[in-house]
Symmetry: none
Subunit: 540 residues, 2 copies
C-alpha cells in the first residue's frame, strides 16, 4: 500500500470563509478533533498575522499530527534571517513550516513588482533558512496552475528552487479555483516529468467550479501524494477541497481504497459525521443537509420507488452503508411515499401495523391533507408518530390545554428607552387539576427573546407528575417558513428538541398565526417526550 | 461547433429534495424561468403520480423548450397500451416522454423480481408505444453504471433495446451517485463503442461524492451530448448535477467553450445568479453562500493579500469576471471599493453624496453592525434608503410610535371549539396628536390571520393627514427567516409592499421577537411610502 498524506488547512484557509472567525479556544478544539481523526498535518494559522493565530501557537495542543505554521517567503531587499514576518513564523517553533510564494510569472511582475530571478532567489533563500533550522518545509506554490499555463518554464523553476533548497513538499495550488480536473491531471504529470517525485507533490484546490474533490483525485491519479483541504469545505470564496468528502472516497472507493493508506482508520471514519456536525456547532452554522457522506439528507430516500426498494435491500439505492461514516438512513414521509414506506416509518417508531390495515390508508390521507395545509412530515418524525398514534388509537392523553394568552408589548421604560417584553399565560388540566402558569420572555441577560420563548417556558413550567421529564428536554432549533407566501401566508414552524438521554426529535406546527404554529410544535415536542419516558415498550 | 443539449429535471428529481414540495404555481414559474434561460428540455414531473404533477401538465406553460413527461416502462403482464400508469403519462400530451427502466441485472431480479428477458421486452414494447405516437422518447437507464460494472452485457442490451425501438436518447444514470469521474468516462466510452452514437447519449449524475459536475464533464469528454441536472443542484439525497454550475463551465471554460454550443446564450448567462436566488426565494431557502458562480461568497475576497491585489487587477484572484454570471465582487466594506459601491446605491435612491464624505464610512459601519445582528440589505432597498437618510440627516419624521401591545389568545368559544384570536393596540403621535388604534386578526371569512396581521391593521388605521397615502399601499409578501439558528435565534422579516402607482418596495426587520421584527419592517414600509408621496424631488 502506498501512503497518502492528508494536510488540513481548516484553521488557516478555512478561516477565510465569509462569516467565519475562530477564537483561540475553538482553534484548539478543532485541532484536537483533526488529530483524533488521523490527519498528518494541521496548519494552525499564520503566526504574527493576527492575535488569534499568534495565541493559538502559544497554546497549541500536543498532537500526533505535525503542527504546521503558515507564512510567506522572505521579501526582496532583506535576508531570510532579517525578515521579521518570517521570523514570527519560525518563532512559533512548529515541526513543519509552509511558506506561500509566487509560482506565476504574471503575479511576480504584477502583484509583487519584482523580477523573476529575484522571486526565485527569495524562494531559495527562504527554504534554505527553514531547512537549516531542521524544520520540515512545504512550498505553497501560489497560482501554480494558472502560472504554468502562461509560462510553464518559470512555474517549474520556482518548484525546483524550493526542492533544491531542501523542501519536503511542493504544494501545487489552484488558487483561483478555475482549473478543471483534466488540466490538473496533465499539469501534475508534467511536474513529475520535470524531475520532482510524486512523493514530494501536494495538491491544493478550491471549489469555484464544484470540482475541488475531482481535481484532488486527478492529481493523485497523476502521482501526487499529499492532499490539502478543509473540514466541511470551508475556505475563501466557494471553499477549499472538502476533506469530509475526500477522506471517505479515499478509504472506500476504488482504485484508492486498495492502493493507498492514510492516517485515518476505517474505525475513525465512523466519527466523520459527528466531527462535521461539531464544526458546524462551533461555528453556529446550520449543517448542510445535502453534504456528501455526512449531510442529514445524504442517505434520505424520498422517492416512492426508491423508498420501497430500500426496504427490501438498502444497496439498491445507496452507494455505501451510512453507518460507515457515522451517518444514518432516513426515509422521510411525504405525499409521494407509499404504504410500505409508511409501515417502515411506523415500525421505526415502535408501531407495528399489518399490511393492508385500513388505518394506513386513513393515515396517508390525513398526512396528505395536512401537508396541503402547510404541515411537513419529511423531517418532523416525532409529529408524524403522534399523528400515527392518533390514527391507530394509541395516543395517550397526559394533559389538556384549556387556553393560553400571549401578550407582546413595546413601550418606553423608565429611562425613556423603547423595550419589548412578552408574557404568556397557559392554563392546563393535569391529573384532573387545573394549573395556571405564567412566564415572560426575558433571558438571563435581560434580553427579550420574544413571545414563543415566553409561551414555551409557561407551557413547561408546571406539568405535575411529568415535570421531571419535561425539565430534561431543551429546545435546540427553531425554524420558520412561510408557505404559500403573500398575505394569505401560512407559517410552518419546525422545532428540534433534545434530552439528556441523547434523543433528538423534530415536531411541526402550521397556522396563519405564528404563535399558534409554534404552540402546536411545542405541544407535540412535549407529548413525544412523555410517550418515550412513560413507556417501556416503545423505543426509538 | 457541436451542439450540447441541456435537460432540466428540477421539477421532477429536484422535487425529491428533502423538505421541497412545489405547488403547481411554483412549478409553472420555474418552468418559465428555465425556458427563458434557454434549456432544451424541461422535465415537468410524473403525470398521475401525485395531484400537483397532474395539475402542472394540465396547465403547463407554452415553452420553446421541449416539455417532457416522466414515467416508467410498462409493467410485466400487460401491454404498453393497457398499462394505466403509462397511459396517464402519455395523456399529458407532451412532445417528449422520458421513461425510467432498469438497466442493471441485479435490480431486474432483486427489485422487480422478473427475468432479464422480460425486462428487455418491457423496455422495447414501451418505446415502440411512445415512438408510435410520434413522441420524442428518452430511456432513463436507471442504475446503468452500477449495472454495467456487474454485468456489462445486460446493461448494454437494455440500451440497445430502447434504441432499436426508436428512442432518441439513452440516459446513462448514476442513480446511487457512487461512481467516480474516471469510471464514468470509461463506461460512457464503452457505450459508444458498442454502437450507440454519442449524439444519442445523455448523462445523469448525483452528487453523493461531490463529483456530479466532474462526472458530467467526464461523460461529455467521452462523447455524450446531453447533460441532465437541476437548478441549484436540488435532488434526492445530496442532489443532482448542478446546472447552475455546469452551464457557466460549458460556456466559459475550455475545451468546452470553443467546442460546443448550447441553447443558453452568453447574454442569458447574466441572469443565472438571479435565477438561482429566485428559486431559493420560492423555496424560502437561504441561498448557499459558497455556491460556485452564483453564491454571494463566490467572488468575496476576505484574505488581506487577496483583497489588495484585487484592487490592482481583479484577474489576480478571480477565475472569471463575476458580472458574466450576474454576480458581483464582494470586498471588505471598509475599503474604497466598498464606498464607491455605496455611492452607486445611494444615487440609485436619489441621494447624492460626495466622494470622501465621512457619512459614507459611518453608514458602512452601521450596515456592517446591523448585518451582524441579522438584518440584510441585499434586497431590502427601501430599508437601506431609510438607514442612509438617517445617517445623512435626511430622514423626515412623519409620526412617532409611543407603544404597542399585541395579544394572542387561544381558548374555547361558546360552541366549545378551540379558536385563536389576536388583537393589537398601537399608540402613535401624529401632528402633535396622540392616536390610539385597535384591530383584530380576523379576516373577512372569519379566519384568524395572526398577530402580525392585527398589528399591521392597527398601525395603518389612523395616520391623520397621511391616511390617504397609507390606504394606497398593500402588503404583497411576507418572508420570515431564522438567522443563526438554535435557541438564540434571531428572526428576520422581509416585507414587500406595493401601491397603485406601480411602486414595489422591500423592507427588513430583525429581532429575537418575531412580532417586533415584523413591526420594524412594517414601519419602514410606511415611512418609505410617505417619503415617496410627500416629496417631489426624490424619485425611485
Amino acid at each position: 500500500m502506498e501512503r497518502l498524506y492528508l494536510y488540513d488547512t481548516t484553521l488557516r484557509d478555512g478561516q477565510q470563509t465569509q462569516g467565519v472567525q475562530f477564537s483561540t479556544t475553538e482553534k484548539i478544539q478543532i485541532a484536537e478533533m483533526l488529530d483524533q481523526l488521523g490527519l498528518d498535518y494541521i496548519e494552525g494559522g499564520w503566526p504574527g498575522a493576527n492575535p488569534t493565530d499568534s495565541e493559538f501557537f502559544e497554546n497549541a495542543p500536543k498532537t500526533r499530527a505535525k503542527m504546521t505554521a503558515f507564512g510567506m517567503t522572505k521579501r526582496t531587499g532583506r535576508s531570510a534571517e532579517n525578515d521579521d514576518v518570517l521570523a514570527q513564523v519560525m518563532n512559533a517553533n512548529t515541526s513543519a513550516v509552509c511558506l506561500v510564494g509566487k509560482s506565476s510569472a504574471f503575479h511576480v511582475s504584477d502583484a509583487l513588482g519584482i523580477t523573476k530571478a529575484e522571486n526565485t532567489a527569495n524562494i531559495a533563500a527562504s527554504f534554505s533558512h527553514i531547512t537549516g533550522q531542521d524544520r520540515e518545509a512545504l512550498f505553497d506554490a501560489e497560482h501554480f496552475f494558472d502560472g504554468y499555463k502562461a509560462d510553464p518554464d518559470y512555474s517549474l523553476e520556482t518548484l525546483h528552487a524550493a526542492m533544491e533548497a531542501g523542501a519536503r513538499w511542493v504544494v501545487l495550488c489552484d488558487t483561483n479555483g478555475g482549473t478543471l480536473p483534466n488540466e490538473i491531471h496533465e499539469i501534475t504529470k508534467a511536474v513529475i516529468a520535470s524531475g520532482i517525485s510524486g512523493e514530494n507533490v501536494a495538491i491544493h484546490t478550491h471549489d469555484d467550479t464544484a470540482n475541488a474533490v475531482a481535481c484532488s483525485l486527478a492529481a493523485i491519479d497523476a502521482g501526487a501524494r499529499q492532499i490539502q483541504g478543509t473540514l466541511n469545505g470551508l475556505g475563501e470564496r466557494c471553499g477549499n477541497a472538502n476533506l469530509t468528502t475526500l477522506i471517505p472516497i479515499l478509504l472506500l472507493k476504488e482504485p484508492y481504497a486498495s492502493k493507498f493508506e492514510t492516517g485515518v482508520t476505517i474505525e475513525n471514519l465512523q466519527t466523520l459525521t459527528h466531527i462535521s456536525r461539531t464544526l458546524d456547532d462551533i461555528l453556529n452554522r446550520v449543517p448542510l443537509r445535502q453534504a456528501p457522506f455526512v449531510g442529514s439528507s445524504a442517505f434520505a430516500h424520498k422517492a416512492g420507488l426508491h423508498a420501497s426498494a430500500i426496504l427490501k435491500n438498502p444497496s439498491t439505492y445507496e452507494h455505501i452503508e451510512p453507518h460507515i461514516v457515522g451517518n444514518e438512513r432516513v426515509i422521510p414521509m411525504s405525499n409521494q411515499a407509499g404504504q410500505s414506506n409508511l409501515r417502515k416509518r411506523l415500525s421505526d417508531a415502535g408501531l407495528s401495523v399489518k399490511k393492508g390495515d385500513p388505518a394506513l390508508g386513513f393515515l396517508l390521507d390525513e398526512i396528505k391533507e395536512r401537508e396541503a395545509q402547510g404541515y411537513s412530515y419529511d423531517t418532523a418524525q416525532a409529529s408524524f408518530e403522534l399523528l400515527a398514534r392518533k390514527a391507530l388509537g394509541q395516543l395517550p392523553t397526559f394533559f389538556e390545554v384549556k387556553r393560553y394568552k400571549v401578550t407582546v408589548e413595546r413601550r418606553k421604560n423608565k429611562y425613556d428607552k423603547m423595550i419589548s417584553l412578552s408574557e404568556a399565560v397557559v392554563v392546563l388540566k393535569v391529573d384532573g387539576e387545573k394549573k395556571l402558569s405564567v412566564s415572560e420572555s426575558m433571558d438571563d441577560t435581560g434580553s427579550d427573546r420574544g413571545p414563543v420563548n415566553a409561551l414555551s417556558k409557561a407551557l413547561a413550567k408546571d406539568l405535575g407528575q411529568y415535570q421531571e421529564m419535561i425539565d430534561d428536554m431543551r429546545l435546540v432549533d427553531f425554524k420558520v417558513r412561510i408557505t404559500q407566501g403573500g398575505t394569505e401566508a401560512v407559517t410552518r414552524v419546525i422545532i428540534d428538541s433534545a434530552d439528556s438521554k441523547g434523543n433528538r426529535w423534530s415536531t411541526v406546527g402550521a397556522s396563519p398565526n405564528i404563535v399558534d404554529a409554534s404552540f402546536e410544535a411545542l405541544l407535540d415536542a412535549i407529548q413525544w417526550k412523555l410517550i418515550r419516558d412513560t413507556s417501556e415498550k416503545v423505543h426509538k
